[in-house]
């Protein structure tokens, strides 16, 4: 099986209690716990103010972490393609759509409908940043983080371009929550590059298998990690990136397929 080598140029993260990568990095290094004064909504400064006010949570989350990662990488968002991964997309809109369709289908909001597409964050991001490059929106259910990362790394290497990768999930609501329960919003983003000198360098390898044991996280993050596999897998990689020392970890890339990662600084 071929290896993929990508460099991490930039990192972004948002959760309740850590609204940027530096704060999350300190938590992952054990410096402190979640910040009680942290904002409850992502700032999403990349979006124009009007969009920021009315955008759904998924769009705010994705735009926030994507913006952070691009700034950290010192890359113009308009200059690179993007891959957005989410297990479920905007669950509050799915709930709204199903409730409205069951009661008064002709009253469905046209804005909610076009915001219901899985690629709404990719759409708002490319519009806000004037990015004409390819944009993608993917899911791999419980392997969404690994599947999305594989797609982004593949794009970076095949097209020889830096790629923005953002993974996020929103809070479930309504009866659907019994099928797809998530209680906290979370997003993480990376700018991956096929070349250059940025560190760390990650080597990705695919391997058949189903078991991926993840290292323990600081207790402040365990609820978030247990909330949703996407969170757990993203946090496992971010925990490795926070340590500035070589690490190995494995996350699922599909049902029955594992993505081994070797992180070198």
């Amino acid at each position: 099986m071929s290896e993929l080598h990508v460099r991490i140029e930039g990192i972004g993260a948002w959760l309740r209690g850590a609204s940027d990568w530096n704060t999350l990095r300190a938590i992952l290094r054990g410096a402190h716990g979640l910040r009680e004064d942290a904002p409850l909504k992502p700032a999403a400064a990349a979006l124009p103010p009007a969009e920021r006010r009315r955008a759904p949570e998924a769009v705010l989350l994705a735009a926030e972490v994507a913006g952070q990662a691009c700034r950290h990488a010192n890359r113009e968002p308009s200059s690179i393609p993007c891959v957005f991964a989410s297990t479920h997309g905007e669950l509050s809109i799915t709930d709204y759509m199903c409730v409205t369709l069951a009661s008064a289908p002709c009253e469905l909001s046209p804005t909610k409908f076009h915001n219901s597409v899985h690629n709404a964050p990719a759409g708002y991001w490319t519009i806000a940043t004037d990015c004409e490059h390819a944009s993608n929106a993917v899911t791999g259910w419980h392997a969404s983080f690994g599947a999305g990362l594989l797609e982004a790394a593949t794009l970076a290497l095949a097209e020889n371009t830096p790629v923005l990768f953002a993974a996020y999930d929103t809070v479930s609501s309504g009866p659907l929550a019994e099928m797809t329960r998530t209680t906290q919003p979370f997003g993480a983003a990376l700018v991956l590059s096929p070349n250059g000198s940025a560190t760390p360098l990650i080597t990705l390898r695919l391997r058949a298998g189903t078991v991926s044991e993840l290292a323990a996280l600081p207790s402040a993050l365990s609820t978030l990690a247990n909330d949703n596999p996407l969170n757990a897998h993203a946090l496992a990689l971010l925990a490795a990136l926070a340590q500035d020392s070589p690490a190995r970890l494995t996350v699922p890339a599909a049902s029955g397929l594992l993505l081994d990662m070797e992180v070198l600084f």
């Binding site: 297990t87 799915t94 289908p105 690629n119 519009i127 390819a134 259910w141 593949t154 599909a254």
Partner: protein
């Protein structure tokens, strides 16, 4: 501009839509100009419009071993997978390369949201009814998870959900995985089924036509929604020297508006340019373009201008959505198959429903089917969020 890519063989393909089950039903209908749109008899509440509804889904339950995945979208996927010996071709590819060396990349816009809608209509004390308490069918990955299980594909399994470009982009992702040596084959395609979300959603946007859709007609009144399953098996060209080829693709973003195309077709042109560059072709080497052609005022206006400016009248173009309706996340895959049909059966499908074509692309539009040699075919797909893709296919001896 991107570099030219090595072409890939399309070693099997199939389509199931309102036109029928399998390739030959589509060849017959497209060649003879027989459409399939009918008065809406699907939505859970009345909605005056026309739809492209696949016959027989209601009578085709999943096999018992896959019953856990039961829902309309997975039924249509299973129906589609079992046409044209596609299932056997996938099994042979798994045998040839190994299950973990075959990727599965599928596009869908709404996956099995119809099952979630039904659960909300049938809530019991605020909870999903027992028969629908199956998390696997309430996720946008439902289709891909089901097909992976049904086929035994163990390689990368990715759902692309970029609205109406979803199952065009799957060809690009699969090509990249194969070029990097991650896998040796990929089953790609798309499946979307009729559901209230899209019927009432497009109705809310005032984009649904009360009559069968008329792409590129000056009097067009909007889209007719359809459903389809389409699949293609991609392998390296040396495996099947005579099979038609995927020779290029382009992907782009409009960076303009969530539900309206860029007025000058910025993203559509960028996707076309990239597809031509990857294929190593000029515009005058294209024989047929299957247009996105949804029959909305804006889409067709913008796309017609791009076709009229960039292509000579020698290049034949048509939208086939007058035959099938707009099959949304399945449209990219379905219309890729129509490009392959044009190449392998030697005809250009007509632009059903159009009698007064937009003048700007009048000379390129094939209003009726035309018997002619098609060596290279393009297929356009544009989605919400300004998400665009253009695919290029060629006859083996041309690639």
């Amino acid at each position: 501009m991107p570099a030219r890519i090595p072409s890939l063989a399309v070693t099997a393909y199939s389509a199931t839509s309102a036109l029928g089950h399998g390739v030959s039903a589509h060849v017959d209908a497209l060649r003879s100009g027989r459409g399939s749109l009918r008065a809406n008899d699907f939505s859970s509440a009345p909605l005056e419009c026309c739809i492209g509804r696949v016959e027989g889904i209601e009578d085709a339950p999943l096999p018992q071993s896959l019953a856990h995945w039961e829902c309309r979208n997975n039924r249509l996927a299973w129906l589609g997978l079992n046409q044209d010996e596609l299932f056997e071709a996938v099994s042979a590819a798994i045998e040839r390369h190994g299950a973990d060396r075959v990727a599965l990349v599928l596009g869908t816009s709404t996956a099995s949201i119809g099952a979630s809608e039904e659960a909300y209509r049938r809530l019991e004390d605020g909870h999903f009814p027992q028969d629908l308490r199956r998390p696997g069918i309430h996720t946008p990955h439902s289709l891909t998870a089901f097909i992976a299980k049904a086929t035994g594909i163990d390689g990368p399994a990715l759902t692309i959900s970029t609205a109406c470009s979803s199952s065009a982009k799957v060809f690009a992702s699969a090509e990249r995985m194969m070029r990097l040596g991650l896998v040796d084959a990929a089953l790609v395609g798309g499946v979307d089924t009729l559901c209230d979300s899209v019927l009432f959603g497009f109705n809310a946007l005032e984009l649904v036509s009360p009559e069968p859709c008329r792409p590129f007609d000056a009097r067009r009144r909007g889209i007719s929604i359809g459903e389809a399953a389409a699949f293609a098996l991609l392998e390296r060209a040396d495996i099947a020297p005579h099979s038609p080829r995927l020779i290029g693709y382009g992907e782009s973003s409009d960076a303009y508006h969530m539900s309206t195309p860029h007025p000058q077709g910025r993203g559509a042109r960028a996707a076309l340019d990239d597809a031509l560059a990857r294929a190593g072709l000029r515009e005058d080497q294209i024989d047929y373009i299957n247009l996105h052609g949804t029959a909305t005022l804006k889409n067709d206006e913008v796309e017609a201008a791009v076709v009229g400016e960039r292509f000579s009248p020698r290049v034949r173009a048509s939208s086939t959505k007058g035959f099938t309706g707009h099959t949304l996340g399945a449209a990219g895959g379905l219309e890729a198959v129509f490009g392959l049909i044009a190449i392998e059966h030697g005809f250009v499908p007509g632009n059903l429903g159009c009698t007064q074509p937009e003048s700007v692309c009048e000379r390129q539009l094939a209003l009726r089917s035309e018997e002619r040699e098609v060596r290279v075919a393009l297929s356009n797909s544009f989605g919400f969020g300004g998400n665009n893709a253009c695919l290029a296919f060629a006859r083996a001896d041309f690639a």
